[in-house]
């Protein structure tokens, strides 16, 4: 028999180490702190937006070890040791816009911009899986994200445009892509 692990009081603080956009962070949070709140309030990374706060709208989507997840559906304390990418971490060296960001600008893929961080992270990961989506596949890629302004047409166009930009930058050489060494 092992002895049960020590259980701290509900309001106790837990030490968590995170890598966010390549930078190491140490923070002390109560167990109930949602990751979306830790990013915004504890780390000051307010680029991640909180819409519905129960996993429906997709605005708070971030990348966890490269995979898109809802930060409002993750407990910070459960993410100790994880490597996260938020919208602040998408731009390339020298603050050049990432392909997806540039595509949203080119195609007028946003109006009020509230949902945009979640779209940008979702599409960034989506294009890693499928670098050359059809219009239907682009729709499927963004199906988990809600936008109340654009009617989605320009966002779908942005996905296709982002794929184009990625290909163009790849053709210019590996050094022009952020994920290349």
């Amino acid at each position: 028999m092992t002895s049960p692990p020590e259980i701290l009081a509900p309001d106790a603080l837990h030490h968590v180490s995170l890598t966010v956009n390549g930078a190491a962070y140490d923070l002390d949070v109560p167990a109930r702190r949602l990751l979306s709140d830790a990013l915004r309030h504890d780390l000051g990374l307010t680029g991640t937006h909180v819409g519905c706060e129960h996993g429906v709208c997709g605005a708070c989507t971030i990348l966890v070890d490269g995979r898109p997840m809802r930060s409002c559906l993750l407990l910070t304390v459960s993410m100790d040791g994880a490597s996260l990418t938020t919208v602040e971490g998408l731009a390339e060296e020298g603050d050049r816009l990432a392909p997806v960001q540039q595509a949203f600008k080119d195609c007028h893929g946003l109006q009020c911009g509230f949902c945009t961080p979640g779209f940008l992270t979702t599409i960034t990961a989506g294009l890693e899986d499928n670098p050359d989506p059809t219009r239907d596949e682009a729709r499927e890629m963004i199906a988990g994200n809600l936008c109340r302004c654009t009617g989605y047409q320009n966002i779908v166009s942005s996905v296709l445009r982002a794929a184009e930009i990625r290909r163009a930058r790849d053709a210019q050489g590996p050094a022009s892509r952020e994920d290349q060494p």
Binding site: P10, H54, R67, M69, S78, G144
Partner: protein, 294 residues
């Protein structure tokens, strides 16, 4: 929209997790959390302690042999969806997984967690019930295996006890001569289904239908499995037989009216979807090649 305070523990071993669950009847297991965390935030659930099993890497597996697929408690939906061997042995898993929320949710949510969450509006409990899956659970007092037929007892309620941790989901292989399909009607892509139906059609050596079973989601308090075989006494998938199967379904489901749709509409959908999935499953059961059978 913030969870009430709770204690948190992240056990390093399964025994530690079972010790905590055994000593606190109001503790709750956290795996993917894609249903639990919103319930915490909305304060529908207020456990005293969360037992986070994400440190138990030995539970993150999808293992397939000719008998079926075994899915560990930490296997994410995406792991099951993309597993080629699981797709070959039990294709309904992948078909159903594509209807579970969105990829972003499937990246974190666990398949076994979804089954024991026992939401009758979710795909995985309905699939587990249809395929006669089983769940192995552990507590400090030992292990036991619960057949799907004995698992679901009410809305969000299953027979896994508070002191128990669901360890593994066992899903039998699709038998030769069988085909499976699933379809649903939702108000929005990836949203909860107004009604969903999964079916397995089995044919004999001569191609005649021998057995048809279907499982219904969102139209009863627990996943409802119906045997529709009696509609196919002459062994054919004729329009009349498929209509008769749909009639059995609409007579057996017991949907409720809510803001998303009336009971009558959901009952109608049960019939429409029964026709669709029985035809699709029959086409797969009688396909001449392995690709078509999936």
């Amino acid at each position: 929209m913030k969870p009430a305070p709770f204690s948190y523990v992240r056990p390093a071993t399964l025994d530690e997790a079972l010790d905590v669950l055994g000593s606190d009847p109001h503790a709750k297991v956290l795996a993917g959390g894609q249903s639990l965390v919103p319930m915490l935030s909305m304060r529908i659930a207020s456990p005293t302690t969360l037992v986070d099993i994400n440190g138990l890497a030995e539970l993150a597996y999808v293992r397939t042999d000719e008998d079926g697929v075994r899915i560990g408690a930490l296997a994410r939906h995406v792991d099951v969806e993309t597993d080629v061997d699981a797709w070959r042995v039990q294709p309904l898993l992948r078909h159903a997984m594509r209807l579970v929320a969105h990829p972003t949710i499937r990246n974190r949510g666990t398949t076994l967690g979804s089954v024991v969450h026992a939401d009758a509006a979710a795909e995985m409990p309905a699939v587990a019930a249809l395929l006669d899956a089983a769940v192995t659970v552990a507590s400090t007092r030992g292990r036991r295996t619960i057949e799907a037929a004995d698992l679901f007892v009410g809305p969000l309620e299953c027979t896994v006890r508070p002191a128990e941790l669901a360890l593994e989901l066992q899903v039998p292989a699709l038998r030769p001569g069988s085909g499976a399909a699933i379809d649903e009607v939702t108000r929005r892509h990836g949203d909860y289904a107004l009604c969903g139906v999964a079916a397995v059609v089995s044919v004999g050596a001569a191609g005649a239908i021998e057995r048809v079973r279907a499982s219904y989601l969102s139209v009863s308090p627990t996943p409802l499995v119906l045997d529709l075989s009696e509609a196919f006494v002459d062994g054919s998938a004729s329009d009349a037989n498929v209509d008769a199967a749909a009639e059995i379904a609409t007579g057996a489901v017991d949907p409720e009216t809510d803001i998303h749709g009336s009971a009558d509409y959901r009952r109608h959908l049960a019939g429409v979807l029964t026709r669709r999935v029985v035809r699709a499953a029959h086409a797969r059961a009688t396909a001449s090649d392995a690709q078509g059978a999936r």
